[in-house]
């Protein structure tokens, strides 16, 4: 599968490596060249510096033939905007977004953007640990 990941933070870099090792064609985008250093040296995919909301960057990343678009920058709004561009302008079949705000995550799920809210997931996990 051809997968584009926007945002090379801890989560993005780890996800890119995992998906690439599993044999996928991965391109990861970040505005900050320094962020791309989080990728391991033997990363087989493509690392691209650019703004994931800009047409030039997305086309360069190969969005027109992508199967999956994942957005995990620290900004909820950036994430959902990028995902909606991928879905509605480039017709990428599968879209996944990280959205911290649970209410916004739920709303965008209703609008066809698969959203994972770390806030809910982590809070639940911590609660389970505490309660044993």
């Amino acid at each position: 599968m051809k997968i584009i990941i926007m945002g090379c933070g801890r989560v993005g870099a780890r996800l890119a490596e995992a998906l690439s090792s599993a044999g996928n064609d991965v391109t990861i985008i970040d505005t900050e060249p320094f962020a791309l250093r989080k990728l391991p040296e033997d990363f087989k995919g493509t690392a691209l510096v650019g703004n994931g909301l800009a047409e030039e960057t997305l086309v360069k990343a190969g969005i027109e033939s992508a199967d999956v678009f994942v957005s995990c920058t620290p900004g909820d709004n950036r994430n959902v905007m990028a995902c909606q561009i991928a879905k509605h302008i480039y017709n990428v079949p599968k879209i996944v977004s990280r959205v911290y705000d649970p209410i916004r995550a739920e709303m965008y799920r209703g609008l066809g953007i698969e959203s994972v809210s770390p806030t809910t997931v982590i809070a639940d996990l911590l609660k389970q640990k505490i309660e044993g």
Binding site: D76, M81, H88, I89, M107
Partner: protein
């Protein structure tokens, strides 16, 4: 009318003042506490501190009964999300977004933002009108941008000089409205009107045909 404004920067501040003086009920949302204080001093109790993209904040200021939400922060993605939350969570009938990157206007429209205002595009257009050598000058957007009135100045050496409008064809959907001739003024063109160097030709067209018009009227 009850209007919620997201973003209390310069645009938000002046907009709030104008709408208040027009007699509307206005509330402006701003995240930055220091900026909120300044706004409160200037505008009084119409300022609420909070994130205008968050459903809880919008709920607290009664967005459910708002007639309009206007998002004017300097972040395109924030303005988009504020408008989408207003539309989908609170059924606000009309949403208006400020857009900084002209390329984002398309996705905003697709995603249901009712009106987009792109300040960058306006500034560029105004500057272009002042540049004498610029080949195609945009004059007016018609029908929400689907049609545009442009001005083309016939350059020296253009192949249409000495020809009439009947001698060549304009692209499909483009029509010549007026010719402004140096020392004469406006002329209503017919198929028999001859073109001269430096004529300013006013054309109504769409974005796709501009390159074709450029090569027809300016090509050598």
């Amino acid at each position: 009318m009850y209007i919620v404004i997201v973003g209390g920067g310069e645009v938000g501040y002046h907009l709030t003042r104008i709408l208040l003086s027009d007699g509307h009920e206005v509330l402006v949302l701003e995240q930055n506490p220091a900026r909120c204080e300044v706004l409160c001093e200037e505008l009084g109790g119409v300022v609420y501190r909070g994130d205008g993209c968050e459903a809880a904040t919008l709920d607290a200021v009664g967005t459910g009964r708002a007639d309009m939400l206007i998002a004017v922060t300097d972040g395109d993605e924030d303005n988009l999300v504020a408008c989408q939350v207003a539309k989908h969570k609170f059924n606000v009938p009309r949403t208006i977004a400020r857009v900084t990157n002209p390329k984002n206007e398309k996705i905003f429209k697709i995603l249901g933002v009712d009106v987009t205002v792109c300040s960058t595009k306006r500034i560029l257009e105004n500057i272009e009108q002042e540049l004498p050598s610029h080949p195609i000058i945009p004059l007016l957007q018609v029908k929400g941008g689907s049609a545009e009135v442009i001005e083309v100045k016939i350059p020296p050496g253009s192949k249409v000089i000495g020809k009439t409008f009947g001698d060549f064809k304009m692209p499909f959907g483009s029509f010549v409205l007026l010719v402004i001739r140096k020392d004469i003024g406006p002329i209503l063109p017919t198929t028999e009107t001859t073109l001269y160097e430096e004529d300013e030709v006013i054309v109504i067209t769409n974005a796709e045909s501009q390159d074709a018009i450029r090569s027809i009227l300016m090509g050598k």
